[in-house]
Point group: D2
Chain length 243, copies 4
C-alpha cells in the first residue's frame, strides 16, 4: 500500500537567507521529499506544504490524504496557528504518523504531544556528530550504519526534557563531548511519533545518505495500521449481557 | 522530612447538591486530607484549596510550599484558569508531585501533561469494582490488599487514551465486565505523576481504607527528591575542555 | 515478502487424551497453523514442529528457515532440551520473532527471556473471558473487535510476574472478577516477543475468529526487519579517527 | 530505617595482581563499602562478601539480612555457583535490591535477569568518560553533577544488548566518540535493579566522589519497600463471591 507522506516545513530560512537557500535550493522540505522518493520509490507518495500556504497547507482535506506528516520548524514556531496545531494533534491521536525533525523539538505540536518543555542544550559550532544505534532490531534502524558520522552539525545535548520514550533507537555524541537521545519513539492515541534530531538549516544534513535512510525507515514505521483511523473519544456504554 | 501535600478540589458538587454534601460533609478534599493525616501523621502537612479560592488557591506562593498536589475535578474543568494550569504544569515539570484523581482524567492539567485525549468509557450504575495490584513491589502498592473491593463505584473502562505509563500499578475490573488501568505512573520533567481512578462524588470511596492507603503511598512516592526543584530549560553552553 | 512461521506444540495432551484430541483433531499446532493460513494466505508459509520430533523440530537448519516461532507447551515444559532452549533464545536475540501462547508462560524459553518467575493465578472452571484492547493503534490489535468474548476459558489472573512490557495491547477480565494482562510485547536483543494468554487445550479457543486474528497480526508484527539477523555479541573496536 | 547493604566482589584482581591491589588496597568491595558509609552514615549498614567465602558469602542466612546487594565481577563470572545465582535471583524477585557494576554486565545474575546477551563494545585505553544525567528528577541522580567527568576509564559502548530499561538515568560519552547507557533501571518481580557502568579495576573510579554519590543514591533507591518480601509464585484461588 502506498504511504502518503506530507513534508511540512516553515520554509523561512530558505526564503529569507541566501546562504541557507544555497544549501537547500528546493527548501528543506524539497530535500527531504527527494530523499523519501529516492529510497521508497513507488511505496510512497510525497507532498510538501509550508507555513505560507493557506492553513499552512494543513487543511482537513490535506490531512485526510496524509498517512505520515514530517515536521520541520525553527524560527517561526509561534506563527503556526493554534487551531491548525489542534487539528494536527487530533489527527495524530487518530492514527496519523508524525516525524518531528531537529529544531521541531520546540514546535507547538511536539510540546503538546509530549506535555514537557522539550528543552535541551545546544551550541552551533559545526561539530562532528556520531549517531549510534541502540536498538539494532528496530525497523527505523534497518540498514543504518553503526555508527554513522555527520561531519558538521549543530550540537543538541542532554538533558532533553521529554517523557520516557517507548523505544530508544539512536544516541548521538558530539565532538564537544555532549550526548543526545537523537532518535526516540512515542505512541500518542493511535498515532506513532518519531523524533529525530540530526538536521539543520545551516548544514546539508538532509542530503546525508544515512539520514535519508533513517527518515525513509521512519515513514514506513510511523504509517498507520490499515483500518480505522479515529481520534479516541469518551463513550458511555450500557451494561451488556456477555453470555 | 515532612511532605507538604495540597489537596485541590473543585468543590462544586458538595456545595450545590445536598446528596453529595451528605456523603462528603467536609468536601472531597476534606475526606482526602483526613485520610492522609490519618495514615501519614507527622510525615505530612496537609492543606486544601478549591476552585473558588483566589487563583483557585494555587498562587505561586501556595505552590512554593507544595511538594505534592492532589487534583479532583469533574464538572468545572473548564472554569480552571489557563494561566493557573500553565503554572501548575511548570511546577510539575520542576519536580512537584501530582496525583490526579478519578474524573480528573479530563482536567486541563492532566490532558496537558499527557498530550492525549485522556478519554475513556464510563457508566454510572454503582457497580462493584475490584482493584488488582500488578506491581506488588511498587511503593504505591505497599500494604494494599490484593485485591481490594469497592462495593459501588462508577465504571471507568478501556480504552483509556493515555501514553504508555512508566509503571502499571493497578488494574480494575467491574461487575459489568469492563477493565481499566486504574493506577498508572508517569514522569514529566522532574516531576512524578500518579493517576488513580477509584473515587467519585456519589460514592464514599475516599473513606475506603484501601483507597486511603493508596493515596498515602502515592503522596510518599510522588514527593520530589530533595534538592533542586527547577523547570527544565534550554541552555547554550560553550564548548568545554574536559581534560 | 513471505513470512516463514513455525508453530511449535508439545503435542502431549492431544496424543494422550481422547477428550483433547476431540477438540483439536489436528493438534493445537494444526489449529493454529490453519488459522494463520486462513488469514494470511500467501503472505505466510506455515510449518509445524512438536516435542517428539528430533531436536523437537528445532534444529539450527529448521530455525534458519523460521522468521516467527509460535510456542505452545503445558505439561512437558521440563522435557524440552536445555540446549534447544538456548538455541531458540539465541535466535530470538538475533531477530527471530517469538509468540508465546497461554501456558507457555511457564516454558523454559519464556522464563529465560523474561528473567522473572512468570507466575500467575489460575483457575480452570470454564469461565467467560472478555478481551479488551488497550492499544487500539497497535498492529497486533488491527481489526480486532473491542472487546471480544471467549465463552469458556481457563482463568489467568494477576499478579502476572513479568518485566514491564514494551506495549500493553490487551487486558482480560474473567467472570470470577480477575483481570490479566493478556497481550503484552517485549524486545529482547533484535527480536520481538509477544505473549498472548487466550488459548487452552480444553477449550476450542484457537478456532475463535478473534483469537485467530490476533495471532495472524502477531506473526506480521513479530517478523524480523529485513536485513541482518545476528545475535548481539561483544566487540573490541580500535579507537577511530572520525574526521 | 537502616538499609542493610551487601557489597559483593569476586576479589580476584586485587588478590593476584600487585598493580590492582595498589589501586584498591582494601579491594573494590572495600572502596565501595567505604563510599557508602561515608555518604549514608547511619542510614546504612554495610557488609562485604567475596567469591572465596563459603557459598561466596551469599548463603540464605546472609541474604536474609540483605536489603540491597551490589555486584562486582569480571574474570571469574563462571566460578560463581549456579545454585547461588538462582538463590540471588529468587531474592531479587522477592524484593531485594540489586546494583550491578561495570563488568558485572556479564555476570550470571545480570544475564539471567535480563534474558539478553548483555554484550557491548569495549576498549581499555584509559579514555575520558563524561557521564550525563538524562533523568534529573530521578532519585539516583540526586545531587549528581551534570555532567561529571572520569579522567581515565575503560570505554563501554553501544550497542548494549539489554531489554528496554524502566528509566534511563545516565548516558556516557567517551573520548573516542562512543556512547553508552551507563545508568539504567529495571524491575524484576518485586525487586529493583540498577546497572551502573563506571568502575573498573585498573582505574580508581570507586573513589570518585560523583560515582560514590550515584552508588549511595542507588542503594537508597533499590532498597525494598517495607513489608512483605516474597518471590512471586503461582496460585490457584477458588472463585470468590465479591458482594
Amino acid at each position: 500500500m502506498t504511504i502518503r507522506a506530507l513534508v511540512w516545513n516553515e520554509n523561512v530560512h530558505e526564503t529569507t537567507q541566501d546562504d541557507i537557500r544555497a544549501i537547500y535550493p528546493d527548501g528543506i522540505h524539497g530535500a527531504i521529499a527527494a530523499g523519501l522518493e529516492e529510497l521508497l520509490g513507488d511505496d510512497v507518495e510525497v507532498r510538501t506544504a509550508t507555513l505560507a500556504d493557506p492553513e499552512h497547507g494543513l487543511s482537513e482535506a490535506a490531512l485526510d490524504e496524509t498517512d505520515v506528516l514530517l515536521w520541520w520548524g525553527h524560527i517561526a514556531h509561534d506563527q503556526v496557528d493554534d487551531e491548525v496545531v489542534a487539528r494536527v494533534q487530533r489527527r495524530v491521536l487518530g492514527g496519523m504518523g508524525l516525524i518531528v525533525l531537529h529544531s521541531g523539538h520546540f514546535s507547538k505540536i511536539f510540546i503538546r504531544l509530549m506535555g514537557t518543555t522539550c528543552s535541551l542544550a545546544w551550541r552551533n559550532e559545526g561539530e562532528r556528530e556520531i549517531v549510534w544505534t541502540t536498538a539494532p532490531g528496530h525497523p527505523i534502524a534497518e540498514g543504518v550504519e553503526q555508527p554513522f558520522v555527520i561531519d558538521r552539525q549543530e550540537m543538541y545535548g542532554e538533558h532533553f526534557d521529554i517523557p520516557n520514550p517507548d523505544d530508544q533507537v539512536f544516541i548521538s555524541s558530539f565532538a564537544g563531548g555532549e550526548v543526545f537521545r537523537s532518535g526516540v519513539t512515542f505512541t500518542r492515541g493511535r498515532g506513532r511519533v518519531f523524533y529525530f534530531s540530526p538536521g539543520d538549516q545551516e548544514y546539508p544534513v538532509y542530503f546525508h545518505p544515512q539520514v535519508r535512510r533513517v527518515l525513509a525507515n521512519g515513514v514506513r514505521w510511523a504509517a498507520p495500521t490499515p483500518g480505522e483511523r479515529r481520534t479516541p473519544e469518551v463513550s458511555n456504554p450500557a451494561r451488556r449481557d456477555w453470555s
